[in-house]
């Protein structure tokens, strides 16, 4: 029961949606599939909150046990609560929500990834070496594309945008297409394994 029911549910919903794409199933394709899509959105909404529930559990534990730097967990929970409750009551166009989003959330998220600009700079200087022929080809191609993509490249030599375009149209497209075809096969096989209940890693390895 515990094993079979979830696997049967996965199989039925998976096969139904798969066949619906290829075969016109009378009644089912018009009515049931649309209904199931609506359901999936709603269940996904519950799953969205589940992530937050998990975080809530971990940090409540840290606060109650007075773990190291428990105040950070407290800040986290307060932020979570305010960010959830305010728009729930007054919609996302409310001033408090907009304030929190624009001034705190956006700056934190944006800066987190802006850090990477600095890391690229320091890695460029310290770690990106023409250690192998492969790395050499990669770095030359990178430099051509960087000069081709910025206005200054064209100033230095009008060939940069041209050759950068050529390189990307032919080689980047070809390489990415090869990878894409292979990865698509991988994705199809993985999805089929899941639908047939052979691969249960989605259920946490049980």
């Amino acid at each position: 029961m515990r094993r079979e029911v979830p696997i049967v549910v996965t199989f039925v919903s998976g096969i139904l949606f798969l066949l619906d794409y290829f075969i016109k199933i009378p009644y089912v394709s018009e009515n049931v599939v649309g209904q199931f899509l609506d359901w999936a959105i709603i269940v996904a909404a519950f799953a969205l909150i589940l992530g937050a529930a998990n975080i809530f559990r971990i940090h409540i534990y840290k606060i109650v046990k007075g773990k190291k730097e428990w105040w950070n967990s407290l800040i986290l929970l307060v932020a979570m609560l305010v960010m959830a409750v305010v728009p729930i009551i007054w919609t996302q166009q409310n001033a408090v929500y907009t304030f929190l989003f624009k001034n705190i959330f956006e700056n934190l998220n944006g800066t987190m990834f802006a850090l990477l600009a600095f890391y690229i700079a320091s890695a460029a200087y310290r770690a990106f070496r023409v250690r192998t022929k492969e790395a050499a080809v990669l770095l030359v191609s990178a430099v051509v594309v960087m000069l081709g993509a910025t206005p200054i490249g064209a100033k230095i030599w009008s060939g940069f945008p041209e050759y950068s375009g050529w390189l990307q149209t032919i080689f980047t497209t070809a390489g990415m297409r090869g990878i894409m075809i292979g990865a698509s096969l991988g994705a199809i096989v993985t999805a089929l394994r899941t639908i047939f209940g052979i691969d249960r890693s989605y259920f946490g390895g049980q």
Binding site: V5, P6, V8, V9, T10, S13, F17, D38, W39, I41, I42, V43, A44, A45, F46, L48, I49, A52, A53, I55, N72, I75, L76, A79, M83, P87, I88, N103, N107, L108, G110, T111, F113, A114, A117, I120, E134, L138, L139, A142, V143, V145, M146, W166, T169, I170, F171, A174, G175, R177, G178, I181, G182, S184, A187, I188, A191, I195, Y202, F203
Partner: protein, 209 residues
């Protein structure tokens, strides 16, 4: 109020940037704040979707609208997801999860098989060998060899010997050129983010831009 907001934003920005010098308490607090706000957003949008797509059509339909009784099913399924926090009934949460995963897997196949698999093969074979794609007459030959070579590189059922080795080697060099281009593009993306941050610090905060 706006000035206060910008000052808070600047403090947040600097707290994160301080990570460049070393990991420190300010960074950790900022990181926790960020995770909290992101989780809060998740709760809000989850709630919003449940109310607008399930609760209202089920319990408060507009006058003239039919009550959608079926929506009781996803509401129950959704609640069942939370049995994972129980000791005994944990397995029940796999039923709604199985539904999501089943639908998701099927949609993944539906999407991938056309646009990312077949369409990519067809677009490659449509090219005549002697054809200028961007610059030279041999473009199409290079392109087709590149696609085939990359596929051969990822072929694992035979040792790489003879023609397979040649093919895989072509694939490897084409991929190096491709990843080089990807490298260049990534630099561009990351620099854009930094430009955005510096706009904020120097423009909105310090008003020197």
């Amino acid at each position: 109020m706006e000035t206060v907001g910008i000052w808070i934003g600047a403090l947040c920005t600097l707290a994160i940037f301080s990570f460049l010098l070393r990991e420190n308490p300010f960074f950790r607090t900022a990181e926790h704040l960020f995770i909290g706000l992101a989780a809060g957003l998740g709760i809000f949008y989850g709630y919003q979707t449940i109310v607008s797509n399930a609760w209202t059509p089920l319990f408060n339909p507009d006058p003239g609208e039919a009550r959608k009784w079926f929506l009781i099913v996803p509401l129950v399924l959704g609640v069942l997801l939370y049995t994972r926090f129980l000791k005994k009934g944990k397995w029940i949460s796999r039923i709604p999860l199985g539904f999501l995963v089943g639908v998701g897997s099927a949609l993944a196949i539906r999407g991938v098989i056309g646009a990312s698999f077949m369409s990519q093969i067809v677009a490659t074979m449509e090219l005549p060998l002697w054809h200028t794609m961007a610059k030279f007459k041999i473009d199409a030959i290079l392109f087709i060899l590149g696609v085939i070579g990359t596929l051969i590189y990822f072929f694992f059922s035979r040792e790489q010997k003879g023609p397979l080795k040649v093919g895989a080697s072509i694939g490897k060099w084409v991929m190096m050129l491709a990843f080089g281009a990807a490298f260049g593009n990534t630099v561009m993306a990351r620099m854009s983010l930094l430009v955005g941050r510096i706009y904020f610090l120097l423009g909105e905060w310090l008003h020197i831009l």
